[in-house]
């Protein structure tokens, strides 16, 4: 009985030591950062040459960015989605015990922007709209695309 208990205790110590020493050696990391609220496709909600800045501000609230150039004012609504995943392998015990170490890692990070941009003339009348929903694009395919 005593021997049986001792062998189990030894297994626990061994398993614990392996798990603790491997912890952080081989690891997968996944990180996601979102900034801003969802941006929807405006569709036909706004009319070029008719919609005013006030109309857009009333329906969408404050823009994230405001720009002005060449008598044109831009309101930009934007949401960003950052994703990063990585796999790393490193055995620090080897570095402490020997002259060499194993340290391999691979990471891939991608930031996609959903953007809705309105162009207004100096009278505040809508001249153009551009909508881009990049967050719908698949993570891995976009990450490895040229």
């Amino acid at each position: 009985m005593g021997c049986h208990f001792n062998s189990r205790f030894a297994m626990i110590v061994l398993a614990g030591s392996i798990l603790l020493s491997l912890s952080g050696c081989l690891s997968y990391q996944y990180e996601r950062r979102v900034r801003g609220i969802e941006i929807e496709d405006p569709g036909d909600a706004y009319t070029l040459g008719n919609t005013s800045i006030s109309d857009v501000l009333s329906s969408l609230g404050a823009p994230d960015e405001v720009y002005s150039f060449d008598n044109t004012d831009l309101l930009v609504y934007q949401r960003s989605l950052f994703q990063e995943s990585g796999l790393s392998l490193g055995i620090p015990v080897l570095k402490m015990a020997t002259a060499w170490s194993v340290d391999i890692s691979a990471t891939g990070a991608l930031t996609r922007y959903d953007t809705l941009t309105f162009w207004f003339d100096s009278q505040g009348v809508l001249q153009d709209i551009v909508f881009e929903k990049a967050s719908d694009r698949p993570y891995l395919k976009t990450l490895f695309s040229q």
């Binding site: 049986h4 208990f5 189990r8 297994m11 626990i12 398993a15 614990g16 798990l19 603790l20 491997l22 912890s23 081989l26 690891s27 997968y28 990391q29 996944y30 990180e31 996601r32 950062r33 979102v34 900034r35 801003g36 609220i37 800045i53 006030s54 857009v56 501000l57 009333s58 969408l60 609230g61 404050a62 823009p63 994230d64 405001v66 720009y67 002005s68 008598n71 044109t72 004012d73 994703q83 003339d121 100096s122 009278q123 505040g124």
Partner: protein, 126 residues
């Protein structure tokens, strides 16, 4: 009976001890009160009135026919989980932003407000 559960419980305890949860909160603070929007009126309120109510703007933009004052603040909520071989992190950042548009006489023409910091949430990244 104790011996029967000792091994799995011990392994479970070791696994639990190698994991870690972290919750974080980060604020970019600007002391404006969105309730003050009720007292402003386009065509009457001036840039000086806005500065008196909301303080110094975070940013100003020169427009084709006037200026814009931008008031900005944000809240980020972070959830991080470390397990033995896997770690996850999720950051959700939401913004309160008010933009006031003024004509060349510094009279308020229109404004927009997006109050979203209360929508920032803790959570898993999937």
């Amino acid at each position: 009976m104790i011996h029967r559960y000792f091994f799995p419980l011990s392994i479970g305890f070791i696994l639990f001890c190698t994991g870690c949860f972290v919750f974080g909160n980060n604020k970019e603070y600007h002391p404006f009160d969105p309730a003050d929007l009720e007292s402003i009126q386009p065509g009457i309120t001036t840039a000086t009135d806005i500065s008196g109510l909301f303080g110094a703007p975070t940013n100003t933009i020169e427009l084709s026919n006037g200026n814009a004052y931008i008031y900005h603040r944000s809240v980020s909520k972070a959830t991080l989980i470390w397990l033995i071989f896997i770690s996850f992190a999720n950051y959700d950042t939401q913004v309160d932003q008010i933009v006031f548009f003024f004509d060349k006489e510094d009279l308020l023409t229109h404004y927009g407000a997006s109050i979203n910091t209360d929508k920032a949430e803790y959570g898993l990244p999937f």
